[in-house]
Each structure stands twice: as C-alpha cells, then as structure tokens.
Amino acid sequence: MGEQKIDFINGNEAVAYAVKAARVQVVVAYPITPQSPVTEKLSEYVANGELGASFVEIEGEHSCFAAVGSASGTGCRVFTATCGPGLAYGHENVQRMHISRFPVVIAVPNRALGTTIFCDHSDTMAEATCGWIQLYTENSQEVLDTVIQAFKVAEDHRVLMPVMVCYDGYVTSHTGETIRLPAQEDVDIFLPPRKALYTTDPSQPLVTEAMNIPVAEWEHEQAMQSAKAVIREANEEYAKIFGRIYGNGLTERFMCEGAEAVLVTMSSTMGTAREVVAEMRSQGYRIGLLKLKSFRPFPTEDFRQLAGEVKAVGVLERNETHGSGCGEAFKEVRSAMYDASVRPKTINFIGGLGGSDVRIQDVRFACEKTLEAARTGRVEKEVHWLVPELMPAERERTGAG
C-alpha cells in the first residue's frame, strides 16, 4: 500500500482531492457558498494539468445537472457540487437523473433553503424523493473517503443510480482537519476506469430515456435496494486498502453495547454526540449512539435490528418538514421499526436549523429525554425543538417566554 500523506485541509479541499484521485473526466460547476472552494480547487487542478478533466463553468445549476447527466451518458466519469438554492434550482433535472441510469456523483455541503448561507439539511431532504443515493458524512476524512467510494457504488452495474455525498456546510466544508490522503496508485486499484453498460455513442444508437415506464420505476427501486449491499462492499473493500471503515457503510454504532436507549443522528452532529455519549457512559448512563449515514437507500434492516435491542430511540436531525410535525429521519426511523414485536419509544429532536449550532447541551438534553422514555416507558413530548427560546432550561435560566 502506498503512503497516505498527512495533510491539514478542510472538507471542500478533501472533496476536491477525492475527485482528482477518482480521475473524473468531466467536471461541471457553478459557484455557490459554501461549495465554491471545491470548484475553485478543481479548476486549479485542471489548469495545472493535475486533473485531466474537461471543466465546464456552467451558467446555472439547472443547466449543471443537465450537463453532468449527458456527459455521463457518453461514458465519462463526471462530478459536480452544489447545495441549498443551487440544488433546488437544479431540481427539475435532479428529480429525473435516475431515469436514464447514467451514474453521477455529486457533493453537497449542506446549506439551508431560504435566505441563509449556513447549514441545515433542508436542501437534500427536499430531494429525498428523487431517486438519488444520499450519504451523510461526519467529517472531512469521511467525505473524502465516501466520495471515492461513491463512484464505485454509482458505476456498479447492480446500481447505476446517482449519488449525493453530503457534508455540513461551513461546519465540515470550512473546518480544517488532519486528513490522510489516499495514494493515487491505491485509489486506481480500488476504483478502476468506468465500464459503461451503454452510452449515447452514435455508433450504437439506443433509446436512452425510459419515460417513466412503471416497470422501469420498479427496477429503479430494485437498484436502490441492491445498492445497500454494494455500499457495504465498497466500505469493506476500502477499509482493506486504506484502513478506515465507517460502520457497515449504511449506519455506524457507537457505544451501543448494553444500551437501553440510542440516539440517532447524522453528519457533523455525530462528532458532538460522540463526546456527549462517551461522557454519559462514563457517568453510568446506558446510552448509545447510531450514525445514520445512508439516508437513501434507507437501512430499514439496521433499524429493525435496533428495535429488538433498545427501549427508546431518539432522532436528532437538522431538518423539519412544516406541516408534518416532525423531521424526515424521524418518520423513516419510526416506519422502519413499526413492525417490531415490541416497538421502542421514539422522540424527535429538531436542531441546527438555518445554521444554528447543535451544542453539547442540546445533545445531552436529547440523550436524557431518550433515556427517560426508555426508563418510564412514556414519551411526554414527541417532538422537541432544540431552539434556545423554546427549551425549558434556557427559559428558566434567562426568564424569557
């Protein structure tokens, strides 16, 4: 195995490195905060001849997705990055990307939809019905590793579905971390050149649009389900070469042995949550932590298994769907555990919206409430908004509300 150089870079630079290492052939991008440094770095690589890709400085995100889709159609490995309003602007093309089954990998430094540039998951949650594999990463190392794995997953003939690799905008994208950079020769072994199943090459004219034929839509679902095994395989194979493994690729457990309650969370919040759970464990609380990495395909089997092991599951997430009363992950987790012979209690914690921080005390609150539900067998409040103005302890302390 080649030497993995150690460097101090942020999430955006990590993504750019991964794209270079993956030998992407066409990069299409439009700038949007906080993604811009990714495309700036990639254009630097291209300008210096370090990445032999065709770089398209497209004029908007709607066009961006059209261009990556058709470039993938010719048989190339392609990449783009966007987030927030940019992802929303591209929605028309995002929602139909899976129809032609051309593999596409994108990176999304999650940014809230709305008028802020800071992080929450409303952008990618809004695309969760669009037939994309969605993987949420915790830190810069994981986003680097996951982007490389994403190409392998997307291009696998059992999958051929587009992939979104998500990481928290500003929190991960702009925070420097000590990273191990995979050596190019090892990435080449893990990720050989793409073998396209079919292309838009005129020498073999094909019909490449399935036009929403119902049986084709069924096949897309089969592909999504097959992706679970492919993601797990990629995770394991990567670990053999590079020495880093992320749970089973779909979820990752932390201190769940003998837990009576488990908190589920995603993305960078995991970093904070690990600290809290480790401390609470040392204080004797039987609390565990589960990282939900693959939101699509949803790891139903992992949650069915969890349901048989614990008495309460808390879900802490950075999104909320107005009118549904709760967040998206909460619904999915509950639904996955519905058929368990004994259903655990479930509680939703909405935090980190619009770029607000998910603080140590917020995670602690979530863990305590989940443990309470496990012990009492009752949930006094199903959905807690971790917004300072609304939290009882804060209100008491500040005398507000």
Partner: protein, 95 residues
C-alpha cells in the same frame, strides 16, 4: 434477442429494423389519409423538387421518376403544389 436482459427496462433499446418496420405498420397512413399524390411520369422532368420538399421524405428517386411510400405519405399536398410541371395531382382516397 437473447433471453437474458442485459440492460435496465426501457433503456438501451437498439433501433433495429424490426422496430422501424413495426412503427411503420402501427401508424400506417392508409388508415386516415384523405388525399393521395398521383404521379404523371410523362410530365415529370425529374427536377426532384418533390423529393426535396416532401416533409416526411417519403418520396424516393427511381430511374423512371418519383416513387412514393404510401404507407407513410400523409397526403399533405406540398409535392403537388411545388411541382412546376403539374406532374403531381392530389386525388381523394376512396372511403
């Protein structure tokens, strides 16, 4: 075609001769055309304006003059209008 499906449903379908033939048969213009072009090869000077201007391109060239594919001719009448030598007339189809 092999029994084993190599590509996802609805995608990767070759444009084969069979598909073309099936397309022509399915929407044969004989079913609905109102007027049909009739060629007077004696008047025809083989200028091929009809060949150029036929929107569908169903007129092909032979040594004797134009030949029209009546399976696909829509009977629009452009060829008859454009023929300078009055070698094409539009006749009503029999019901």
């Amino acid at each position: 075609m092999s029994k084993e499906k190599k590509t996802p449903e609805g995608v990767g379908v070759p444009v084969t001769e069979r598909q073309v033939a099936a397309t022509k048969k399915r929407i044969s213009a004989w079913a609905w055309r109102v007027f049909r072009p009739v060629f007077d090869l004696g008047e025809c000077k083989m200028c091929w304006a009809c060949y150029d201007y036929c929107p569908e391109g169903v007129i092909s060239k032979s040594d004797n003059g134009p030949v029209v594919d009546l399976d696909t001719c829509k009977g629009c009448g452009v060829c008859a209008t454009e023929c300078r030598f009055k070698a094409i007339k539009m006749e009503r189809e029999e019901v």
